[in-house]
Amino acid sequence: MKPIRCYLGVIWQILRKDIQVEWRGRQGLPVMLVFALMIVFLFNFALQLSPDLQASLTAGLLWVSLAFASTLGINRSISLERETNALDGLLLAPVDRSAIFFGKTLGNFCFTSLVGLVLLPIFSLFYQQNLLRLALILVMLLGLGAYTSLGTLLSALSIQTRTRDVLLPVLLYPLALPILIAAVEASRGVLSGRALGEMSSWMYLLLAGVILFNAAGLIFYETILEE
């Protein structure tokens, strides 16, 4: 029992550290949130949305702004470690490195989910549609779970390149595409009033993403960060 508790303890310490850094600096979340909002407005002007078009595009817009904002947060989470050389400290710690992955992923997941939860009422207001539904929140959490675990994994790759964090979107967006497709389709289904059971294939796809990317993190994080 002890190793497992120790492992979970490491995950919790990393998560706590990230929350503490965010709480004291308050630099990640506000940036993500404002960025997501700006995307909403940008799209409105760029696409010249008419009211009836808006309804069908809400799910897509929600996920595009979530995906962009999450990338910002994930990038910040890892570059913060890199800038302050905290990453070396983490790597020196005599703990399993996959625990670091799960801790970072959980941190990113918490922050992006928070951004998502704030975005939902804002979207409801702007697009005259009630987005605060339990089913949609469930879809969002599942989708973000898969997205942030893949993102956290890839951010450890991109941070080691010469271009640093610039590379993350290029690596992340194409690989995350099935997740985004599933999330958008499931969200659109929920918004058009269908039951969650009807979208079970999309939900399973999201769940498969969560499991697959976390398993990949468990296996590969150690290899990625070895130096």
Partner: protein, 226 residues
């Protein structure tokens, strides 16, 4: 510089001979498709290129895993060679598909799920080379490239599953129907298709091998010119 293996020479010559043979089969041997006409004949090389692309992406991931377990740099040469050649084949599949789509769908490009995801797959592997270019040591290129190649292949089934769920206008030629006739083609078309698949597999093996040998030579060069 190692001598060129005779098996590779054999593959080269086989590909050189068999590609014209496949072309002759496609042009003269196969019947003209009833509805689409002769433009359908692009299908044989289109499917073969897609097949070769898929095959080499899988090979790239397997070789990546080979590097991660054995830490021998030659696995990475194979992985990068396979993915580079695979990318070329994927682009050929996309372009030949567009040539077919122009008269049949009346447009070069449709936002059809299969086209979109195939292009996304090409982008995934384009990103692979951007990643490699950003890494400074051959060891990091091999290690992170290997991880990325495996990750990329992992998402391919997810992508294909998401296409199945979407409605697609892409023809499903090889159906998984229960009536026993899995192929929606005449025997002659089938023969030409299998010959094309075989030829492209040989071409793929030859190209990957050549690219592998190039990586080997690059490795033998002094560090400054690499």
């Amino acid at each position: 510089m190692p001598k060129k293996p005779s098996l590779l020479t054999f593959l080269d010559i086989s590909a050189l001979i068999l590609i014209p043979v496949a072309l002759v089969l496609i042009v003269f041997f196969t019947p003209v498709e009833a509805v689409m006409g002769s433009v359908q004949k692009v299908f044989y090389f289109h499917v073969s290129a897609a097949w070769a692309g898929m095959l080499s992406f899988i090979l790239g991931a397997v070789a990546g895993a080979g590097y991660l377990t054995s830490r021998r740099i030659s696995w990475d040469w194979l992985s990068a060679a396979a993915i580079e050649v695979g990318l070329v084949f994927a682009v050929i599949a996309i372009l030949s598909g567009m040539i077919w789509a122009r008269p049949i769908w009346n447009t070069w490009w449709v936002w059809d799920p299969r086209l979109t995801t195939t292009t996304i797959m090409a982008l995934i592997y384009l990103a692979y080379f951007i990643l490699r270019a950003g890494l400074t040591t051959p060891e990091a290129r091999a290690r992170l490239g290997g991880v990325y190649a495996i990750l990329a292949v992992m998402t391919v089934p997810l992508t294909f599953f998401s296409i199945r769920l979407f409605r697609t206008i892409h023809p499903v030629v090889i159906a998984t129907g229960g009536d026993g006739s899995a192929f929606n083609m005449t025997p002659r078309m089938l023969t030409a298709l299998f010959v094309s698949l075989f030829v492209f597999s040989i071409l793929l093996a030859a190209l990957v091998w050549h690219r592998f040998r190039l990586a080997q030579w690059q490795n033998d060069l002094p560090q400054e010119v690499q």
